[in-house]
Each structure stands twice: as structure tokens, then as C-alpha cells.
């Protein structure tokens, strides 16, 4: 068994040093080493998007990133989306719009939506569907997810003006 490595990252604004094995994925490190279990595992091969986090501002499937690759990275996970006890617009829109049923895919969808809205503040339905097509949901039929993203975009636009 290979020796553990020390990885230094920024996670949700705070500097973290953690130990991980070379073969551990970022998803495993977040969940099993750091206790950040809000990031979910659905497939461990990049098919479902449940483990989506932001790495240096880009959405990534954390099951496809080795933990050692996160050295020096700036990470944001679902635990860092709300500001204290204030949900952000995306979280609020998913909640108010009943855009979740079982909720296992929700953290991944929220993280992917955060990236979408950072890149494109006023996405069309087509753009929303295209950007979120790597995130699988088996419960909702996606209808209310699309509407929640539209709602979050509108709220963020309204707040910005």
C-alpha cells in the first residue's frame, strides 16, 4: 500500500490540509477524509453528476479527479453554497419550486447550476437543458428543475439590477 500524501487546498473559502492515498478520488477524500458528505456518489465513473463540485471555478465530477490533483486548488462544495443560514437563489428556487423528490442528485444539480449562472446569467431553456445534461435525476422528470433554474436566474438578475 502506497503511503499517504498531504494535500493542501482551499475548500469553501478555508484552507485545508488533508491526508489521502494516491488512488483516492477527490470524492472519496471529501466524503471519507473530510466528512463533507453533501457531495454524493451515484456512479463513480462520471456518468451521473451527483458528485459535482467546483474546482478553480469549473464544475467537475469529483469522482473523476484524484484527490492529489486537488493540491493548490480552490474547491467549492454544496456545503459552501449557503452563506451561513441564508440559502442562495439556486437553493431557494429548488426548495420553493419542489425541484427535488428524493434529493440525492440535488447537490450536484445545484453545483452545476451555480456554474451555469456564473457563465450565463440569462440562459434559455435549451441552454439550461444542455448545460445540465450531465446530471441525472430519476425522480422529477426534470420539469421542475428547469423551472427552478429559470427562477433562480430571474431572481439573481433582479437582485443585480
Amino acid at each position: 500500500m502506497a503511503k499517504k500524501r498531504v494535500v493542501t487546498t482551499t475548500i469553501n473559502g478555508d484552507t485545508h490540509e488533508f491526508l489521502c492515498k494516491p488512488q483516492q478520488t477527490l470524492l472519496e477524500a471529501l466524503r471519507d477524509v473530510l466528512g463533507l458528505t453533501g457531495t454524493k456518489e451515484g456512479c463513480s465513473n462520471g456518468n451521473c453528476g451527483a458528485c459535482t463540485v467546483q474546482m478553480d471555478g469549473r464544475p467537475v465530477d469529483s469522482c473523476l479527479v484524484l484527490a492529489v490533483e486537488a493540491e493548490g486548488a480552490d474547491l467549492k462544495t454544496i456545503e459552501g453554497v449557503a452563506c451561513g443560514n441564508h440559502l442562495d437563489e439556486v437553493q431557494g428556487a429548488f426548495l420553493e419550486g419542489a425541484a427535488l423528490q428524493c434529493g440525492i442528485c440535488t447537490p450536484g444539480f445545484i453545483m452545476q447550476t451555480e456554474s451555469l449562472l456564473e457563465e450565463n446569467a440569462t440562459p434559455s431553456e435549451e441552454e439550461i437543458r444542455f448545460y445540465l445534461s450531465g446530471n441525472l435525476c430519476r425522480c422529477t422528470g426534470y420539469d421542475k428543475i428547469v423551472k427552478a433554474v429559470q427562477c433562480a436566474a430571474e431572481q439573481r438578475q433582479a437582485a443585480a439590477t
Partner: protein, 756 residues
């Protein structure tokens, strides 16, 4: 859409934020794999590389010698079950089969079949150790096709299966012969010979549907601790904690009272998280080590070893008069049970003609073992397959007779007083109302204009199970109520139950705090399935509310020093004679000083209800070159009884419709000749993505169920039934080819176009 004289509700029909919602949008909600315990070990499972093989020997010595490995478990470590059938809440289970499915005994019956499990300090060590387990196999010929498995010369999976005849005993059923055909159901009504004689048109077709998976995003995960006092605690994501308790106790050979099951949140189930796979294995490993053990499946194991719903072969024949009245129906239905008996063939037989008033009918149904994972319930189990067959034939009859398809269905629709082929007579049902709702919809009224575009409709039916539930509710001094119940919440049921209790007590949904608790903390509650939770656990919650009402009235009578009969509970207030009046909150503040806490209890034990109907309308565009079918517009209308929380009712219709769309167009288990699944990943199995589907329009038709105080019908399962048929009918409308083989993948559509 509401029918006349709808009662005025204050809470029911509103859309409050669900109580568990904040935890689910912040990542705080704890699911199956999120369990972390002091001293916890990690487990991995060795699975069969063969679809069918005898196990000659298993040598675990090298695995046990690997540093960091704490225990290895095989079937030899599980107690012998003998030949016994145990009632496990949602049907009788052959314990010998359940035991062999959890860890293979003597033979493996499908690729991915669990053979041994390892507990180690890390998951990586456990996985390495699995590779060191040596299994000597004698590979056998597999049988993967339901029709081939019924043949006399088919390889036989189980040495203890003889055909069990149910309904009648046809001479063709030989009860002495070892076979793959575990069950043969026969349902008859009227005289089909006479019925078909009366018909002007008779259409008989054959259909095939592929094996499909529930596709929940959360893999199975269980953690168990077998404590030094002999008590077992299981943390798991399940649709039924009491069912897991019973199955685990039976498989571990301990009394049910020695097992406590603590439900985590559950990341989807759709029927696939009822049967146990991991809890007895984790418990066995924990018994050997004295430490808690966590087992989590990977996605390939989820596909290869859990879930699926049967592939099928069906022959269906329907006769009708030229003015559009169905005279007779006959069906021959064979479902793949997978490795062990237990497909939903019985409900398949019950549902095949369930949408119509068919005066003469006969249904033969077969439960057939094949070398695939043992099948499990999947949303309206058995109904989607048969709905596909019946509803495409109905469409064909409409085209032949030139009768408008909604009109034909209205003319033959199941309604109050109609007897189903399996016996029961419908009470108040809403099939006609859903058809009318589709007929009147903007969608149906808007003509299609494009080339290769088409529209299809189809109807579907599913039962509402009643079964048993328990709930308690305690009044807090601040006027809120804590609701404790045992139905694990897959899609927002906590909110729906809290709302029913709030309506009963005249308080707000937010003033009820629902909690789903472990098996030691609430009375027996059957599984979250059968579209029963909002209905039956709802009744339990309402009964707990009525108990609180009665106790609040008694307490007020004591305070006012009056006769209890002079106090009534009305609209959230406790009202006595004269000016005597408490709001719920006012009296709640006094209860601890006037005799102590008030706790209401409620139970439900309900007969199976009649069920619910849905009608769907699909517009498609077919790419004539590639055969790809695009859904342009989709509307689902359903009789939902009373929509407690309309957003989550719509969500059930939308989610069910999209699962049905996946079943219709993409999803299937692809097998190689040797019996291994070739597409055991989400990339290759390909459930619908957000990019594949349009918005799903919903029409909630409310025909209250008289069996529930607020008229609730279960809504979760019906919406998966109509989509394959609605889409097949739309494809015919678009390009004139009849699809009778699911999924209607591009290559199959292309092949049909070329034949034409």
C-alpha cells in the same frame, strides 16, 4: 381541474415548503452511504463473472491473510433456511431463495451474483481481498430469454421449482416436473368464445419488452452492527424499515426484536429498495469482527445484481364490434422472474384489461426463471408491459374502425360497477374523467403540422395498496405537533402526511414537524410502495390527529369543569358552552400544567383500494433517416383523488412519465450470448437526461376516493404505465409503422421503416 362540490380545505391543496427540504439543498441530509460510526469497517463483495455456474469450492484463505482484512463471509456463514415461505409484508418470500440471492449457495444464477464479502480497514483493502478469493466454478449454459426458458430442453435454474397453478389447474401444468416456470396464473371472466364471435374485428399481436432497471441514483448502502449483547442495528436506505428488519432477522436467524433498523434518507427506490441484499451480509461481517461494517454497492453491481423489472413476451387479442364496443380480450403473458421466482406476473394479468369494460376475457400469466438478477418491483410492477400491448392494439382497432381514439376509450372505459378480469368490481374511479381531460386539453386541441410528426394517447391503471401504517403525534407547548411515522420518504411524503394531520387539527403545515423514525420508535408500518403512503399512512396520521382532538376536548372539559360531551373540536379550536373557547395553541400551552402531555396515536390497516387511472398524450417527431424519436410535447392527466401537495403530485406524474419515456425509447439490459450485461453503467444504460425530454404538462383530475377521509388516491405508480404505448401510437401516427418491441430504439424504428 376539480369536480363539483369539492370540500374547502385550508392546508390540503396548498404548496408549503417540504420539511426536509433545507437539509436536501444544503447537503446536510444523510443518505445510506453517509453513515459514519466509530470503529467502522468497510466491506466489498465478490460477484460472479458467470451467468450460470455451479460453485465447486470457495477458498478465502489468501484474502483472510491480507493485512487489514478483518473478516470474510460466504453463504456457509449464514443460517440454513430450509424450505419455508415467509410473509414479508409485501408478499410471500421463499427464504431458501432469498438466502441464496444474498450470498450464492452452491451455484450462481446471474452475472454479478454475490458470492463472498470482505470487511477490512479500508474499502481499497476490501476490494483487493475480494480478488484473492479463489472460486472453482463449473460453468453451465445460461438461459436469458423468457420463451426459451419455458422450453422443455431449457437449462433449469432451480432444482426446487415446479409449476404452481393459480386460478385454475390446466392439464398442461405438470406439477411433478422440475421447470423454470414457477407460476401459472389463469383469470377468466365470461365466455371468450362467445365474446370473439360477437366481434366484427379481432386483432391479435405479439409484443416483447426488455428488462429495465429502476435506475435510482443512490446505490444500495447498508451499515450494520451486531453488538455484544446480540442486538443488531442496521442503518440503511430502504423503502421499508420493518421489511428490512424482518428479512434481516430471518436471514441472520435471530428474533425480529433483536434487530433495529434506522432509516437514512433514501435516494430513490421505485420498488427496488424493498428486498434486502446488504444488511444480512453487513450484519454477518459485524458478528465476526465485533465492529460496525458498511457495505456500498457500485453502479455496475446495482445494475447487475439488483432491481430489474421483467422483460416480457406477450400475446394479446382484442375483439370489438364495428361501432366500437370491446367484446372480448385474451392475453398470454410471460414475465422473466430473473434467477428466482417472484415477477409481478399477477398484477400484470390483473392490469392487462383493467382500463376497459371487457365482458369476456381470459388471461394466462407465467412467472419464468432466467439467468438475470432476481426481478423486483418497479413502479406499477407488471402494468407498464401489459399496458403497452393492450393500448397499441386498441389504437390499431381505432384506426381500422376509423373511430377517434379518445372516443373509443370513453365508450369502453372502466367505471363504477365494472368487474375486472381477476374478479374485483370497481368503485368510484376516474378513468372517464382523465380521458375527458385529455380530450379537452390545449395539447389535444392543437393540431400537429410537421412532417413525420405524430400524436398518440394511452391510458394506464394501477392499484392503491392499503396495508398497515402507524403514527404518533405529540402536542408541544408552543402549539406545534411532532408527527412520528414509519414510512420512509422517497418523494416528499413527510410533507403530505404533515399536511393531512395539520388539516385534521386546523393548524398549519409548518406547525407539524414530521419525522421518519426507526423500527423501535413507531408501530409496524408496511413498505413505501403500492402507492399507499399518502393514502394509508395518511389515515394513520389523521387518526392520530383525531385522538389528539378527543384528548384536547377532554382536557378543556376538565379545565372548564364541564361535561366532555359539551366540548367540540372545530377548525383548530376547542369550543365549549358560552364563551369557553381555546385555540389549539392556547390549550397546548396549558397541557403540561393541567394533567400532562397529550400524545395521539393512529393506525391504519386498509383493504386494497380500487386504484387510479391516467391518460397520457404524446407528440413525437421521427427522424426517418436515423429512426430517432424526439418527444415534442407531452401531457399526463391522472385521477389523483385529492391532491394534498399539488407540486409533489405533479412531480410524481412528471417523473413517472419520464421513466416511462426512458422505458419506451432507450432503456434495456443488453446481454452477450454468455449472459453478461454489456451496459452496466449509466452511460450505456442511458436513462433520460434533462436534454432528452420536454416539459411534462400535467392535469390533476380530482375524483375523491371515498375510502379516505380527504379522498386521497395513491398517485406514484400510474404515470409510468401509459408512455410506451402513447409513444408507439404516436410513432404510427407519424410514420405509419407499428412498434411492438421495447425499447423503440432508433435501429428498431429504422428496421420497421425499411420493412415498409
Amino acid at each position: 381541474m376539480a369536480t363539483a362540490e369539492k370540500p374547502q380545505y385550508k392546508v390540503i391543496g396548498t404548496r408549503p415548503v417540504r420539511h426536509d427540504g433545507v437539509d436536501k439543498v444544503t447537503g446536510r441530509a444523510r443518505y445510506g452511504a453517509d453513515t459514519q460510526l466509530t470503529g467502522m469497517l468497510f466491506g466489498a463483495t465478490l460477484r460472479s463473472p458467470y451467468a450460470h455456474a455451479n460453485i465447486k469450492s470457495i477458498d478465502t484463505s489468501k484474502a483472510e491473510a491480507l493485512p487489514g482484512v478483518r473478516a470474510v463471509l460466504t453463504n456457509a456463514d449464514l443460517p440454513e433456511q430450509g424450505d419455508r415461505i415467509v410473509e414479508l409484508g409485501e408478499g410471500a418470500v421463499n427464504m431458501r431463495h432469498l438466502n441464496a440471492n444474498v450470498l450464492a449457495k452452491e451455484k450462481v444464477q446471474y452475472k454479478g451474483h454475490a458470492i463472498a464479502a470482505v470487511a477490512a480497514d479500508t474499502i481499497h483493502i476490501a476490494e483487493e481481498a475480494c480478488k484473492l478469493i479463489e472460486v472453482d466454478f463449473e460453468v453451465l449454459e445460461p438461459v436469458l430469454d423468457v420463451v426459451k426458458a419455458m422450453a422443455d430442453d431449457a437449462p433449469i435454474l432451480n432444482d426446487d421449482i415446479r409449476t404452481e397453478s393459480l386460478g385454475s389447474h390446466p392439464a398442461s401444468d405438470d406439477a411433478s416436473k422440475n421447470t423454470n416456470v414457477a407460476k401459472h396464473f389463469v383469470f377468466e371472466k365470461g365466455d371468450i368464445g362467445k365474446g370473439f364471435e360477437e366481434a366484427d374485428i379481432v386483432i391479435e399481436r405479439e409484443f416483447d419488452t426488455a428488462t429495465v432497471h429502476q435506475g435510482y441514483i443512490e446505490p444500495h448502502a447498508s451499515t450494520a452492527h451486531w453488538n455484544a449483547d446480540g442486538k443488531i442495528t442496521v442503518w440503511t436506505c430502504t423503502q421499508g424499515t420493518f421489511s428490512v428488519r424482518h428479512q434481516t432477522a430471518e436471514l441472520c436467524g435471530v428474533p425480529i426484536s433483536d434487530v433495529k433498523v434506522i432509516p437514512t434518507e433514501i435516494g430513490g427506490g421505485f420498488g427496488g429498495k424493498i428486498s434486502v441484499y446488504l444488511p444480512p451480509v453487513a450484519a454477518g461481517l459485524s458478528k465476526k469482527t465485533g465492529q460496525p461494517v458498511k457495505l456500498v454497492m457500485d453502479r455496475a453491481a446495482v445494475f447487475e445484481a439488483t432491481g430489474p423489472t421483467p422483460g416480457s413476451h406477450m400475446k394479446v387479442k382484442i375483439g370489438a364490434t364495428k361501432d366500437g364496443k370491446i367484446t372480448a380480450g385474451e392475453a398470454w403473458i410471460a414475465f422473466e422472474a430473473g434467477a428466482y421466482t417472484g415477477s409481478p406476473i399477477a398484477p400484470g394479468c390483473m392490469c392487462v384489461f383493467s382500463c376497459y369494460d371487457v365482458p369476456h376475457a381470459k388471461v394466462d400469466g407465467f412467472d419464468v426463471c432466467v439467468n438475470k438478477p432476481r426481478t423486483n418491483a418497479y413502479r406499477a410492477p407488471g402494468s407498464t408491459q401489459v399496458c403497452f400491448a393492450t393500448e397499441t392494439i386498441v389504437d390499431e382497432i381505432c384506426k381500422e374502425l376509423d373511430i377517434e381514439p379518445a372516443e373509443f376509450r370513453l365508450n369502453n372505459a372502466a367505471k363504477e360497477g365494472v368487474r375486472r378480469v381477476d374478479g374485483p368490481v370497481y368503485g368510484k374511479v376516474g378513468m372517464i374523467e382523465t380521458l375527458q381531460a385529455i380530450k379537452d386539453s390545449d395539447h389535444y386541441q392543437t393540431p400537429l403540422t410537421g412532417k413525420f410528426q405524430g400524436r398518440g394517447i394511452a391510458t394506464g391503471f394501477w392499484f392503491n395498496c392499503g396495508l398497515k401504517s402507524a403514527a404518533t403525534a405529540t402536542v408541544n407547548p408552543d402549539g406545534t405537533v411532532s408527527l412520528v411515522e414509519g414510512s420512509t420518504d422517497i418523494g416528499g411524503s413527510r410533507a403530505g402526511l404533515a399536511m393531512q394531520l395539520a388539516e385534521c387539527l386546523g393548524i398549519t403545515a409548518e406547525e407539524v414537524k414530521p419525522a421518519v423514525v426507526d423500527t423501535d420508535s413507531v408501530g409496524y408500518t408496511d413498505v413505501t410502495g403500492g402507492s399507499r403512503v399518502t393514502f394509508a399512512t395518511g389515515i394513520a396520521a389523521i387518526n392520530a390527529g383525531k385522538d389528539i382532538q378527543q384528548q384536547m376536548c377532554a382536557r378543556a372539559a376538565m379545565i372548564w369543569d364541564c361535561d366532555e360531551a359539551d366540548v367540540r373540536y372545530e377548525d383548530g379550536c376547542i369550543i365549549g358552552s358560552g364563551d369557553n373557547r381555546f385555540t389549539f395553541k392556547e390549550l397546548a400551552a396549558k397541557i403540561n400544567a393541567t394533567g400532562g402531555p397529550i400524545a395521539g396515536r393512529g393506525t391504519a390497516s386498509e383493504e386494497t383500494q380500487t386504484g387510479a387511472f391516467g391518460t397520457h398524450c404524446a407528440d413525437v417527431e421521427v427522424d426517418a433517416d436515423t429512426g430517432k424519436v424526439q418527444i415534442l410535447r407531452y401531457t399526463a392527466a391522472q385521477d389523483v383523488g385529492t391532491a394534498i401537495h399539488p407540486s409533489y403530485v405533479e412531480g410524481q406524474l412528471q417523473g413517472g412519465a419520464v421513466q416511462g419515456i426512458g422505458w419506451a425509447l432507450n432503456e434495456e439490459y443488453w446481454y452477450g450470448e454468455e449472459g453478461s450485461m454489456r451496459n452496466a453503467s449509466f452511460l450505456d444504460y442511458r436513462i433520460p437526461t434533462i436534454y432528452d425530454v420536454p416539459m411534462i404538462e400535467t392535469i390533476l383530475v380530482e375524483v375523491p376516493d371515498p375510502g379516505h377521509p380527504y379522498g386521497v388516491r395513491g398517485v406514484g405508480e400510474v404515470p409510468i404505465c401509459p408512455p410506451p404505448a402513447a409513444i408507439a401510437n404516436a410513432i404510427y401516427d407519424a410514420i405509419g409503422v407499428r412498434m411492438r418491441d421495447l425499447p423503440m430504439a432508433p435501429h428498431k424504428v429504422c428496421a420497421e421503416v425499411l420493412k415498409k
